[in-house]
Structures are given as structure tokens and as C-alpha cells.
């Protein structure tokens, strides 16, 4: 059997850190990114620079600490977010586009035409800074399939290198992932971003990769919002001998052992809120 080459986008530092109760300091973010880089992760989604000064500083240091991996900055679909990401030196500017009518209507309070227009403005801005653009279809699982096709066509036209298919609320099944990807026009690399709300993030990622995705998003220990993201270790176990991510399972396990006290520091130490912050 031919072992296919695929790639990991590690989002421990972005989606993983959004897990309630998990938060990293600047130093910890840099240490985790350096370790992921040495592990063989292809792309590291290091955070959201729009969060503020410390996040931007972390990006600059991560950029210097990583020798191989390309560093992704996550952005909402707005120019201020993207400006922050460009200024802190990210390699790849990822723009997250709400794709379902539910998110477009309820969260953005916009319509589909406005989304396409705003996406175009964001892409132009990214290209003006000579940065690689990737586009994420947020809530693709609940989006209208025709609109996904339109968004994909627009992403290709706008010169995006990768299209992220996000099962934002983790409700897809492997067959649904396959059906979704089969409808997406060719001409752009695909990335599968699965959440574990129904315990199927690993299976859905595998099906996404088998259906043609080049990248799979994952996190250390599967941490992430709600029930978490695709667990990198579990993905490697389940695809052993079939897919090659350039990451050795033994190395990953060792890394997780080392990083566990950092990632789950709230379980290892019981501290009260720093008194230095209360004494003013």
C-alpha cells in the first residue's frame, strides 16, 4: 500500500488555547511552538494577533524560534485584525469567513453579498503586504452547498493557497465530510478542521484527508473549545501505515509528556489569583 504524504496544521496555540481553563504565557507559547516545529509540524497556527500586544510579541518570538514550520495568524474577516497579523510578521494570514447563513445573519448581521465583498477587501489587503493568504469556511457543515462553491470560486480567484473546511460545531460525519468535499471545485489545496462534539473529529479528519484534503488541523491532547479539536496523537495512531505527516508517534508522545504540565498547569498547581495583580 502506498503511504500518502499529508500535513498537519497544529492549532494548539489558537483553537486549543480557546479551551476554557487553558491559557499560555508568552514564554509558554514560544516553547510549545518551538517543540512543534522540531516535531515536524508543517504549519503552526500560533494565535490571533488582534488579541493585543502580548499576542503580537509572542508571534514575533515564535517566528524567530521556528526553523521549519510556517506560522499562521488567525483573523476575523476584518482589516484591523489583518493589519495586526501583518505587522507581527506571520507567514500566512488566515481569514475566517462565516459560511453558514446562521452565522452570517446572527453573528455578522450581514448577507452573503456583503460577505463576498468583505472577503475580497481582506484578500486585497493581504496581497498588498505580499503575504500568503488562506481562507477558512467557518461552520461549513451547516452552510448552503451552493454558497460553499461560490466562496471556493472566490477564494481561488483571490489567490488563496488553501481553503479550510471547518466543522465548527462538530456535527459532521465522515460521509457528510466526503459529500461536502466532493462538491468543492478543484484548484485550491484543502484543509480539514474538525471538532469533537460527537466524538468523531479523528474519523472526520481521516475522511477529509482521504477525500482529498492536503492538511488536517489538530491539537496536542485534542484540547479546544467545548469537546475539543482533532487529537493529534489519535490521528497518528489511526492513520499509521496509511498517511505520513512527517511526525513520529513516539516523538509526539514524549513531547506531550514534557508539555503536559505547561498545557494543564491548572491541574498541576493550585494557586489563587496573583495577589500582585490585586494589590494596586
Amino acid at each position: 500500500m502506498t503511504i500518502k504524504q499529508k500535513y498537519i496544521v497544529d492549532t494548539t496555540l489558537r483553537d486549543g488555547e480557546q479551551s476554557p481553563g487553558i491559557a499560555f504565557t508568552l514564554k509558554e507559547k514560544v516553547a510549545i511552538a518551538r517543540a512543534l516545529d522540531q516535531l515536524g509540524v508543517s504549519r503552526i497556527e500560533a494565535g490571533t494577533p488582534a488579541m493585543g500586544k502580548e499576542e503580537c510579541q509572542a508571534f514575533e518570538k515564535i517566528r524567530l524560534a521556528c526553523r521549519y514550520a510556517r506560522i499562521i495568524a488567525w483573523n476575523r474577516m476584518n482589516l484591523d485584525d489583518i493589519k495586526s497579523s501583518i505587522s507581527c510578521g506571520a507567514d500566512i494570514i488566515h481569514v475566517c469567513v462565516p459560511a453558514s447563513d446562521l452565522l452570517i445573519r446572527e453573528k455578522l448581521r450581514k448577507n452573503r453579498a456583503e460577505v463576498l465583498e468583505q472577503l475580497t477587501a481582506c484578500a486585497d489587503f493581504v496581497h498588498s503586504a505580499n503575504k500568503e493568504l488562506t481562507i477558512g469556511l467557518e461552520d461549513a457543515s451547516r452552510a448552503d452547498r451552493d454558497f460553499i462553491v461560490r466562496l471556493t470560486q472566490r477564494a481561488i480567484k483571490l489567490g488563496a493557497s488553501t481553503l479550510r473546511i471547518s466543522d465548527t460545531v462538530g456535527i459532521m460525519s465522515p460521509s457528510a465530510i466526503k459529500a461536502c468535499i466532493n462538491q468543492i471545485p478543484a484548484g485550491i489545496d484543502l484543509e480539514i478542521h474538525a471538532h469533537n462534539d460527537l466524538g468523531m473529529a479523528v474519523a472526520n479528519s481521516i475522511q477529509g484527508l482521504r477525500s482529498g484534503a492536503k492538511y488536517a488541523d489538530a491539537t496536542l491532547f485534542g484540547i479546544g473549545e467545548r469537546a475539543g479539536n482533532c487529537n493529534l496523537e489519535h490521528l497518528l495512531i489511526a492513520t499509521k501505515g496509511q498517511l505520513d505527516f512527517g511526525i513520529r508517534l513516539d516523538d509526539l508522545r514524549l513531547l506531550q509528556e514534557i508539555l503536559s504540565p505547561v498545557i494543564f498547569k491548572n491541574r498541576h498547581t493550585v494557586h489563587s489569583f496573583p495577589s500582585s495583580l490585586l494589590a494596586r
Binding site: T25, V169, S175, D197
Partner: protein
């Protein structure tokens, strides 16, 4: 209607568990939509169930509890387990079979395999895939979506079967009419499971984890407050739980304002409070408690008053 067999009790050391808890556990399983509960002979002897007149068979034998006319009754489990790991499907025509193994099925052409199973001529065909490759729930659900009529699962983790709560929720989200159970007992089931096993269920365990409805990041809080369906696959009430907005490194000013209002605290200095929350939570790697928010809000308020009156 799909047959859902729960095997949790076959995977636990039940000797030390009180009969009262075991009976309650079975009651809750039936309420959430389980069709049959599998249990070992030793346990069947401890539960006062009608059906076998005290004859619970040899050690190692398993039985099934099934509800008939509103009463739980014991039946012999006549499914023959057959492990499947290869490509050639064994001859299972006219047999009552439970197929196990198949851990890597998602990495193969499972649809063709399911088609072959559906045309195998088996009298009864129950699937209980192994979870050694973390795909058992997906295999079980895909089997049902393909037309399969029976799956075996078990509650929570600590076993090698599909997760019952994930399978039931997967079915409910796909077609709410496909299951008759009330999933709001999941919260009670988890508490009872933890009591019986003396092992905590992971807070982020899919469907039943205690933290899965905690919302911290500003983007998600914004969405959930506008319409909870934006970032929730199902409502917390569906599984007997509640949503909680928590404050941490990823919170926004809007989240802080929401929490201050919720706690009846002064909204003065929300920006300053947020800054301190972000710093403190990064250092501790956790969220801020309501008590800590109260302390922070009081400090900031005092500072503002000092500035005004000095």
C-alpha cells in the same frame, strides 16, 4: 427503529457497586433511549429481574435486559460474537451475529463493506466496532446511516466500544425522530457513572463533559449571546446541563460586562478588569472565579472612587 444495546455493565467491575445504583443506572439507560442492556451472568443474579426464573446460566454468559410492557425482563443474549479484521466477510447467513473489531474501517471503503453486510443474509446483525483507533462512534453511526439496524455501545470511556452518548446524540442531530429517548438524563448518568466507577469523566468529554458548555473566547461569547446555536451543536438543556460564560485570557470587554451584570457588580473599570484577568489567567492557566471577579471589581471601583474624591 434502531436497536441500541448498552454494554457498560459488561466492562465494569460491578462487585463493589450497590444494587440500588446498578438498578438506577439501568433505569436511566432505558430513559435515554437504550433498547437493551447487556450484563454478565454474575450481575444478572444480583438484580431482581423476571424472565429466567432464577436460572442465570453459567459464569461468563451474558444476558440482555429488555423492557416489555413497562417492565424490565431478562433474556439470554443469543448474539454470537465474531471478530472481523480482514477483508473477506465470513459467511454469516441465517445467523445472529455481533461483529467486533473493524477498528480501522474508516480508513477503508466502509460503504462497500456495509453494503456487503446488509446483503449477508444474517438473521440479526449487530455492530460493535473497536475504539482502538478512536473511530468507533463514527463507524457505528455510519453503519446506521447505511441501513444497519443494531449497534452495541457503552457509556462514557474506559472500554473499547462506541460511546453510547455520542451515538445517541449523533442520531438525534441527524433525525430527532430516530430515537425516542430523553437525553437530558445524561447529566445524571455521568454523575452516577462517576460514583460507580470512582473515576472522573473528562470535563471535555464529548456530549457529557462538565466543561463543554463553558464559553470563554470573546468571539464565541459574542455569538452565543446573539444566538446560542451559532457555536453550540445542541442546547445544554438537551443533555441536562447549563451554559456558563467564563472569564479568561480570551475574554472580551463585552464578556466582562456581561459577567459584572450577572453578578450585580459595578460596570466601572471593565477595561482595567479585563487587562488584569488576561494577565492573571495566563499565569495560572485557568479561568477566574466569581469570587475573584468580585475582588477585582471591588479593587477597581475603590481606585476609581479614590481618583474622584482625592
Amino acid at each position: 427503529m434502531v436497536t441500541i444495546i448498552d454494554r457498560t455493565l459488561t466492562a465494569l467491575h460491578t462487585n463493589q457497586i450497590q444494587v440500588q445504583d446498578l438498578s438506577h443506572f439501568c433505569d436511566l439507560l432505558f430513559i435515554c433511549g437504550v433498547t437493551k442492556i447487556e450484563l454478565p451472568a454474575t450481575l444478572a443474579a444480583r438484580l431482581s429481574l423476571s424472565g429466567l426464573s432464577g436460572n442465570t446460566g453459567a459464569a461468563g454468559t451474558c444476558f440482555l435486559i429488555q423492557k416489555q410492557n413497562g417492565r424490565q425482563q431478562l433474556f439470554p443474549n443469543d448474539l454470537v460474537e465474531q471478530n472481523f479484521s480482514g477483508n473477506a466477510l465470513p459467511d454469516i447467513a441465517r445467523r445472529k451475529i455481533r461483529l467486533t473489531g473493524m477498528a480501522d474501517l474508516i480508513s477503508r471503503d466502509y460503504r462497500t463493506f456495509f453494503e456487503a453486510l446488509l446483503h449477508s443474509g444474517a438473521t440479526t446483525l449487530d455492530l460493535c466496532p473497536s475504539n482502538s483507533m478512536h473511530c468507533a462512534t463514527a463507524i457505528a453511526l455510519e453503519w446506521i446511516f447505511a441501513g444497519g439496524s443494531s449497534v452495541s455501545c457503552a457509556f462514557s470511556c474506559g472500554h473499547d466500544f462506541p460511546r453510547l452518548e455520542e451515538v445517541l446524540m449523533g442520531l438525534k442531530l441527524r433525525d430527532s425522530a430516530s430515537i425516542v429517548g430523553d437525553l437530558s438524563v445524561f447529566n445524571q448518568l455521568r454523575n452516577l457513572y462517576e460514583k460507580m466507577t470512582r473515576l472522573p469523566v473528562s470535563p471535555m468529554k464529548a456530549v457529557i463533559g462538565t466543561d463543554i458548555f463553558k464559553v470563554e473566547s470573546g468571539i464565541h461569547v459574542d455569538g452565543v449571546l446573539k444566538n446560542s446555536a451559532t457555536y453550540e451543536p445542541f442546547s445544554p438543556q438537551t443533555v441536562g446541563s447549563q451554559r456558563e460564560i467564563v472569564l479568561g485570557k480570551h475574554s472580551s470587554e463585552q464578556s466582562v460586562l456581561y459577567k459584572l451584570r450577572e453578578q450585580n457588580l459595578s460596570e466601572t473599570g471593565a477595561k482595567s478588569i479585563l487587562k488584569q484577568i488576561k494577565e492573571g489567567c495566563s499565569q495560572l492557566g485557568r479561568n477566574i472565579s466569581d469570587l475573584e471577579l468580585y475582588a477585582l471589581a471591588s479593587e477597581v471601583k475603590n481606585d476609581h472612587q479614590t481618583e474622584i474624591y482625592c
